[in-house]
Amino acid sequence: MFEGLLLGLIDVITTPSVFFLMIFGVIAGISIGALPGLTSTMSMAVLLPITFGMDAHRSFALLLSVYIGAIYGGSITAILINTPGTPAAAATTFDGYTLAKKGQPGRALATSTVSSALGGIISVILLTTISPILAKFALRFAAPEFFALAVFGLSIIASISNNNIVKGLMAGCFGLIIATIGLDPISAFPRFTFGRAELLGGVSFIPLMVGLFALPQCFVEMEKMFKKDNILNNFNHSIINLKEFFQILPTIIKSGLMGGFIGSVPGAGGDIAAFAAYNEAKRSSKKDDHFGEGALKGIAAPEAANNASTGGAMIPLLSLAVPGDSNTAVLLGGLIILGLQPGPLLFTQQADLVNNIFAIMMLGNIVMLIVGLLGIRYFVKVLSVPKNIIVPVVLTLSVVGSYSMNNSVFDIFVTLVFGIVGYLLLKADVIVSPIVLAVILGPMAEENFRRALIMYDGGFSFLYTRPITIVFLTLAIFTVITAFLKQGTFKRKAKKKI
């Protein structure tokens, strides 16, 4: 398989137009991904028509580069203004924004850039080497496995709840209830829609995320303006050094592998991968890592995982013609438009294209690394812009970002409602990330739980008779117990200090 990758690399490097399209794609992806409300899927969908006149190699050079760039781009605003550009960057806010707030946005962005690139490269290696095995593994997922995966994802709430698990769990339950808005997945009964047709499909995720992250942040900045408190005016431009890089490297590799595996499961995208990797990095952290206080590993883990999910999501697409997420669904559309049929035959009939796809993903991550590192000095300039200018700009982007998802003014009002909810929760020291995680995983959990019950005639034996389900549920229990133990240790230490 590596010979194929090598052939592809030579082909791509020696074709200037493909290389140029990759650079353009990465820059376009980063720019669009950084805009709050615009997802990587949207950025690919927007650029898809441009590829109609291109051959398969150029078309994929552009689309894959946009995909890679957009997933990374989401972290820039997550770090600088606590507003994740894409859902996959939501977990990056925990430590990324905290580090930027401490006056070290360059270090946070550099960690994010390096981790994203390496995570992506790890996933390409996975893609080229074990894609058939992973594809078979991913296909063994039925309703019980998806339910168990969702439960494992939800168990992460316990570890991201900042030492107040009860409040975190309450926020999680609140998010799960929000996720039940819309048509019931089994009986199609409209729940909590209050007669609004816009709510039949559920609360749109992007307006909710913009509301919970961007608006409360703007309100906090308003408070600072009121108090004439501008913490972020003093910051340094330094990036990470080699010692720090080697310290975070194991986290990047572990998270990259996790992201690749999770990304290969259809329906589990970069957002779940990022939260899961953050949880694992936090769980296995040492005392001096200081997760939640600007830990480099806390940035490296979600960023490596979400970019690694790009390669992971390509595995079922190329091997079995099953799109792993909405991004690969757009890519599947691109393949079909070009008259190609993904699946096992693609590897034999279009071997050079498959090689080029591997090479483009590999080089795309390297281009992203270079563009990202060169861009850091310009990205951090966002922090130099006076708050009385940046706040209205972010609010305008929030309004337009919420609207653009479904071309619906109703979604802007959804953003405003969740903006108030997010601000009040922030004031009450309730972390909003569990809500986001619950809204992502809620429909997956409920629908698959009920489908599993149907499969087993209303019995619960699927919880302990299916190996993958048992593994995920055990991991979930382990995660919750570890989080409670850590909270107990933290509180005991805090008492001792007093």
Partner: protein, 159 residues
């Protein structure tokens, strides 16, 4: 903190009760309630919130009672920084007003107005910034979405 947590517990409990009342009107599904019942998940989640709220309330109530009176007052002062809240509330009203304008006048006009009002609200210095920021923000974002990303933005009911 204790007082905040008690307020959180009460608010979440009220939300859970509200959800339980709403789910009461959902159709029942006889013996297949767990599989087909649309109300079952929200109901279980509401019960979970009620239990968690009760834990949060009980733990913090007992802590609050042990706190000295002076500390109680300090925490109340912090939580009720009214002037600050009013400033943020004013900002929210500007956004709400602009979104209502957006329905009528479309994106460009409403966003120019929103940005201009915010500039005044934040006491931005310099007439050039006061004029340029709203115009540039609205036109650049509109152009990027309309011409680069091909996403149509609302033009309002008047145009």
């Amino acid at each position: 903190m204790e007082k905040k947590n008690i307020i959180v517990a009460i608010c979440f409990s009220l939300f859970a009760v509200f959800v339980l009342i709403l789910t009461g009107s959902f159709p029942a599904s006889g013996s297949q309630q767990l599989i087909q019942g649309a109300s079952i998940f929200p109901q279980y989640l509401s019960y979970a919130i009620l239990v968690l709220s009760a834990i949060l309330f009980t733990v913090n109530w007992s802590k609050l009672r042990k706190l000295p009176v002076k500390q109680k007052n300090n925490e109340t002062e912090k939580a009720n920084n009214l002037a600050q809240l009013k400033f943020v509330g004013g900002g929210f009203l500007i956004i709400l007003f602009s979104v209502i304008l957006l329905v009528i006048f479309g994106f460009i006009i409403s966003m120019i107005i929103m940005n201009f009002i915010f500039m005044l609200y934040f006491k931005a210095k310099g007439k050039i910034i006061l004029i340029l920021e709203p115009l540039l923000t609205a036109f650049i974002i509109y152009s990027v979405f309309k011409y680069v990303l091909n996403i149509p933005l609302p033009r309002g009911i008047l145009f």
